[in-house]
Symmetry: C2
Subunit: 369 residues, 2 copies
């Protein structure tokens, strides 16, 4: 293997492929990036066996292919080298067995590589249900829902985001059973599937999306493959059927609070500053006269804020909830105002953008005494 390449071109590709690599992989070869130099392209692959990211650099003025070949190089070292080396062009060559030389104008690294035949064969074939969506729409869905997915492995299915497509509609749901995020969008293709993608994989995909372009998706039973420009990302799916969450979401509401989104976020921040991880409960006291957000922390003290810019409709209502869940949910919106709808003191409440129904956040209240 022997080639010359523009540093920034290689750095950009490595920054994507290394996203899939886990430095603590039980399989040592997976702590590396596979360099596969063909006659007309360089293929970089990173994987932690849950998620695989492959990036292709075609031969052009920025890539001069001198001799084909393949090697696996430790992802951390090769990424740091290409990031820090001080020349516009880099030459990479296997000089002796697996010893690989990475050469800049004044500096020369020698890295011990691993034989590429030890790298697992990963099937990245484009099979399964095919459809296309905008990369930024997908990135938004991930950002608007993933925080509501569970961090606990006790119910693995809840650590993913559920994507359900039918009748030109895509429903995306995440829940940890204390709160739920749901985004509904329309899609061009009439495809039908119901899959749950690990949120960690979606997180990495989200970080790779930089500009608005089309993403092709290939959905099969056990995996989904994303094609994004010169990048292929494949992730396993989570086994099992996702719980039906439609019954959880109330449809009729007796109380409604309209409020400026950033005012509410700031008030939650101020009112929760005496709280801690064990107790992060805030309380809303709402009536037509005033809306008070408050909290109380044993031994430390208490705080009350008058949400004077809010508008409340309904009988007086008092409801307590996690300030963290409320904060996560409210932050996921981008509009100026949010609408919070309640059905009772101990019933889940939902948050929506004041002008749009696409995204719904649901939070379960807690009992306080």
């Amino acid at each position: 293997m022997h080639f010359k390449i523009k540093r920034l071109k290689l750095l950009n590709a490595l920054s994507k492929a290394t996203r899939a690599v886990s430095v603590r992989s039980p399989l040592p070869v997976l702590t590396g990036i596979k360099f596969d130099l063909k006659s007309d392209q360089l293929i970089l692959t990173g994987s932690d066996s849950d998620i695989t990211i492959q990036t292709i650099i075609d031969q052009d003025d920025d890539l001069e292919i001198i001799k084909e070949g393949a090697v696996v190089l430790n992802s951390r070292y090769i990424f740091d080298i290409v990031r820090k080396i001080n020349s516009d062009d880099i030459e990479i060559e296997i000089i002796d067995g697996l010893l690989t030389r990475i050469k800049g104008s004044q500096i020369e690294y020698s890295l011990n590589g691993t034989d590429a035949v030890e790298y697992p064969r990963i099937d990245l074939s484009k099979t399964g249900t095919h459809f296309i969506m905008s990369s930024l729409v997908l990135k938004n869905i991930i950002g608007e829902t993933k925080f509501a997915a569970s961090d606990k492995e006790t119910r693995p299915i809840l650590t993913g985001i559920n994507f359900k497509a039918h009748d030109h509609v895509l429903e995306c749901v995440a829940t940890d059973s204390y709160r739920l995020a749901k985004k509904i969008i329309s899609i061009d293709e009439d495809v039908t599937f119901n899959i749950t993608i690990p949120k960690l994989s979606l997180d990495e995909i989200s970080k790779i999306i930089e500009v608005d372009e089309s993403i092709e998706l290939y959905v099969s039973d056990r995996k989904v493959l994303f094609v994004l420009g010169k990048n292929i990302i494949q992730t396993r799916l989570i086994d099992g059927s996702y719980p039906d969450t439609t019954r959880l979401i109330p449809l009729e509401f007796d109380y409604e609070l309209d409020i400026n989104r950033s005012d509410l976020l700031n008030a939650i921040d101020r009112v929760s500053l005496l709280l801690n991880e064990q107790n992060n409960i805030v309380k809303l006291d709402m009536s037509n006269e005033q809306v008070i957000l408050s909290s109380y922390q044993q031994e430390i003290g208490s705080v009350e804020e008058n949400l004077s810019t809010s508008f409340y409709k309904g009988e007086p209502l008092t409801i307590s909830f996690s300030s963290k869940y409320a904060n996560d949910a409210i932050k996921s919106f981008s509009g100026e105002k949010v609408k919070i709808s309640f059905t009772g003191e101990m019933k889940p409440f939902i948050i929506k953008d004041f002008d749009s129904d696409e995204l719904l956040q649901l939070v379960l209240p807690v009992r306080t005494y």
Copy 2:
């Protein structure tokens, strides 16, 4: 206690006094800030018993004193409240025993305070050898030397910076016995003392210094007091006599390397990227023909960089040293070029600014096989 104050004025004072507070203090009252409201001023005190910081706010248009009194408020909560409260003016009042109300325009906090009589009496009298220096000169001394002081409590005296004054000269030395930093400046007063100040205290003092002003120092046997505008900072000294380090510093040199400071820092960064905390040794091979910086990491690989912009004078010399120590030492200079002087492969070498002798950094080489 009852007063009204401009939020930013109180925030600025609290940001200083809280620097002395350790949240893990074994004495619970020391996790608080003492508010002492007199007829004409508000005195805020924070302390961890090693270091004490007191800030005074005089009565003026920004501070309206309604009723004198005192209370100790948890430093973390009162600082966060004053930082996040959304009004220009804050009213603070003891409303019931020690319960203290902090009031903004729409928000009201109630904090359980601690009785001020429980706060230790700390003697902040201005006694001892008195002299004056520029705050920025002190800040520079701290930044240029503290990293060389020891982190280990095995020899407590080495965890401080030694300040020795005699004949209008102030010598400041820090060493962990593997490297040494020494700054010499002239001072106006003919004072004589030899004290060692904990580097953690100096770190906090350095953070409080924002503008160039005069600092008054009062040096006694067991403590030193700094007066900086409306702030008083007092720190204990470290017991014991500081080792005599003059013999360690070579006076004659057979080899000299002159090099652009940032070029050398970047080269060290690039050459040490294959290294880790256990092995951070880099090697310099110098001759009139070329100067090579290299490193080798078992199983990982190796790297060599040609320092083509350097100028070397002397017989060929090879010397190995910690990249971290070299990096810390070189970073402490601010000039464009540094001069590194050697006396032999296993002898300490020294680094100075190319144009100035005020600051000296010494590094011990290591043996490599």
